[in-house]
């Protein structure tokens, strides 16, 4: 199994989720994160003080999938999250050694 971690622009979340359903992905976990990268942030001004906001709001999606659909999931995320503008984000893939569903105790493929 793979853990696919994607950092995307927040407003793309719903599109990405919808793109994954047809592939059989039944669950995923999302966190609000701040991203630092090539994309430059806004400047906030408060009276005399200017703060360049280096960290931009992003959404991190973590989804565990079976090896067989991993590539299609990556591709689907890539397509759905892309705007073509700087800051679209990254996809990282890691190996999961074991997975388990808490409710039932099912493991691995059945747990997802």
């Amino acid at each position: 199994m793979k853990l696919i971690m994607a950092i995307i622009k927040p407003f793309k979340l719903d599109e990405v989720r919808e793109a994954l359903t047809p592939l059989g992905v039944q669950g995923l976990t999302v966190s609000e994160v701040k991203g630092f990268g090539r994309q430059k942030g806004q400047t906030e001004i408060y009276r005399g003080a200017e703060y360049v906001v280096n960290f931009l709001p992003k959404v991190k999606i973590e989804v565990a999938v079976n090896d067989d659909i991993a590539d299609r999931v990556i591709e689907a995320i890539q397509t759905a999250a892309r705007t073509g503008k700087i800051g679209d984000g990254k996809i990282f893939v890691m190996e999961i050694q074991q997975a388990q569903r808490i409710r039932t105790g099912e493991t691995n493929a059945e747990a997802l």
């Binding site: 906030e44 001004i45 408060y46 009276r47 005399g48 003080a49 703060y51 906001v53």
Partner: protein
């Protein structure tokens, strides 16, 4: 009224005198224990002053607490709110015990008075139909004392913005107690106290300094004390480097709005009457505030490309500050001029000037209150209209008034700066002014008060 009353009493026969007496009783139905000879209270004026007192209290809690609380970082918001609230409680007790007596009694132009220590004698006067105080001929003295108390409360609370995020709560309480008694009350005495005939008694008032609702006594006073404070304490850790953006300007906007609304009590209430002068004071308050808010916003829009919420509300407060001494003396056109000047000058003071001089006045108490107060105090001397407040300004030919205003400003600046400096140093010696670096980093909410926003 008293002149007509006397003329009448002696000029008309006893039958009519009787009628009048009956009618006096009639008018006093709301003041059952009226002594026959005392001037009657005006229930309309009393209603407005009771309301004004509520409005001015609203300015501090929650108005100022929110205005300041929204501008600090999230880890310090409760500590910021706490200061305004605790000062409200502290000054209430001090004012009852000595403050009111110091400020508004006595017969010396400089030395404070002792006639109402612990509000002695006010129990009785407060409920009679007449009023004990020459400063408040038409309302009960208890109401006048309360109205003035709310001014004594907000003035030290204003100072707390200057050293936000770094002062010990205990040190703050001790400093403010001393400051209230040794700085606020004397200055109020010098500008606002009156003799039994209702004429100015304090040496600044006697000199002709115009300060309708506290440009000098409240704002310049608090502003300069704030500046001294942040100079003595030094900048916040990380100032100029860390992101110290206001954590929630919603709170600040609510605070500014309540300051605005409450300021109607501050300025129009300072007429101590429900009449045309109060009405005009309210109108110029509104107009100057709007002008200053638009001026600050526009200045920022031009210089920084965007009109900001913090900008427009800061401008509004600057306008409120500047019109404070002038309300009751100027008309609508004077108000627009004062507002525009305050908006632009305070914007400059809170951005360029502060940047150039590199002091860390966290929430711009100096830039808004001291500078705004000076602008207002001096322009009162320019735009005063005799028909409104009884005194001519420079535009009506009384150019000297500007100089008189400057003397008022200068005296306050000098006295407050010196005494505040001594008090800060004293408290620093005895208790220590600043929290530790650890506490400052962790945030004052948890470190000082054991609480946090979840």
């Amino acid at each position: 009224m008293s002149k007509r009353f006397k003329t009448f009493l002696f000029g008309v026969g006893p039958a009519l005198g009787l009628t009048l007496l009956a009618q006096t009783g009639f008018a006093q139905e709301a003041a059952p224990a009226a002594a026959a000879a005392a001037p009657a209270i005006d229930t309309g004026a009393t209603a407005w002053m009771l309301t004004s007192t509520a409005l001015v209290l609203l300015m501090t809690i929650p108005g100022l607490a929110l205005f300041y609380g929204g501008m600090v970082r999230k880890k310090n918001v409760l500590a910021m709110l706490m200061q305004s609230f605790a000062i409200t409680c502290l000054v209430t007790i001090l004012w009852t015990v000595v403050g009111y007596s110091f400020a508004f009694t006595g017969s010396d132009p400089i030395m404070v008075g002792f006639d109402r220590i612990f509000l002695a004698g006010m129990d009785k006067l407060a409920i009679s139909g007449g009023t004990g105080s020459p400063a408040s001929p038409v309302i009960p003295e208890s109401v006048y004392m309360m109205f003035q108390m709310t001014f004594a409360i907000i003035t030290p609370a204003l100072i707390t913005g200057a050293f936000a995020d770094r002062m010990k709560f205990s040190a703050m309480m001790v400093f403010m107690a001393l400051w209230s008694v040794l700085v606020y009350s004397p200055i109020a005495h010098w500008v606002w106290s009156t003799d039994p005939q209702g004429n100015p008694l304090g040496f600044l008032g006697k000199m002709g300094v115009l300060d309708f609702a506290g440009g000098t006594v409240v704002h310049i006073n608090a502003g300069i004390a704030g500046l001294i404070g942040c100079l003595v304490m030094g900048p916040r850790k990380g100032y100029g480097q860390d992101n110290m953006a206001p954590h929630n300007l919603t709170l600040s906007l609510v605070g500014a709005s309540l300051l605005w609304v409450g300021w109607f009590g501050f300025n129009a209430g300072s007429a101590v009457a429900a009449d045309g002068r109060a009405g005009m004071a309210m109108a110029v308050t509104q107009i100057a505030t709007a002008a200053a808010a638009l001026a600050w916003m526009t200045a920022e829009w031009v210089m920084r490309k965007k009109p900001s919420v913090l900008g427009i509300i800061s401008g509004a407060v600057a306008g409120l500050v500047a019109i404070t001494p002038a309300s009751g003396f100027v008309g609508p056109m004077g108000a627009i001029a004062i507002g525009l000047a305050a908006g632009v000058i305070c914007y400059w003071a809170s951005t360029s000037l502060k940047g150039a001089l590199k002091y860390d006045d966290s929430l711009d108490v100096f830039g808004v209150h001291c500078v705004g107060g000076i602008v207002g105090a001096i322009l009162t001397g320019v735009f005063a209209v005799e028909a409104i407040g009884g005194t001519k300004g420079a535009l009506e030919g009384n150019v000297d008034q500007i100089m008189i205003q400057c003397i008022g400003v200068g005296t306050t600046l000098a006295y407050t700066a010196v005494v505040s400096f001594i008090l800060y140093k004293l408290v620093d010696l005895v208790i220590g002014l600043r929290v530790s670096h650890e506490e400052e980093r962790e945030g004052l909410d948890l470190a000082l008060h054991g609480e946090t926003i979840h």
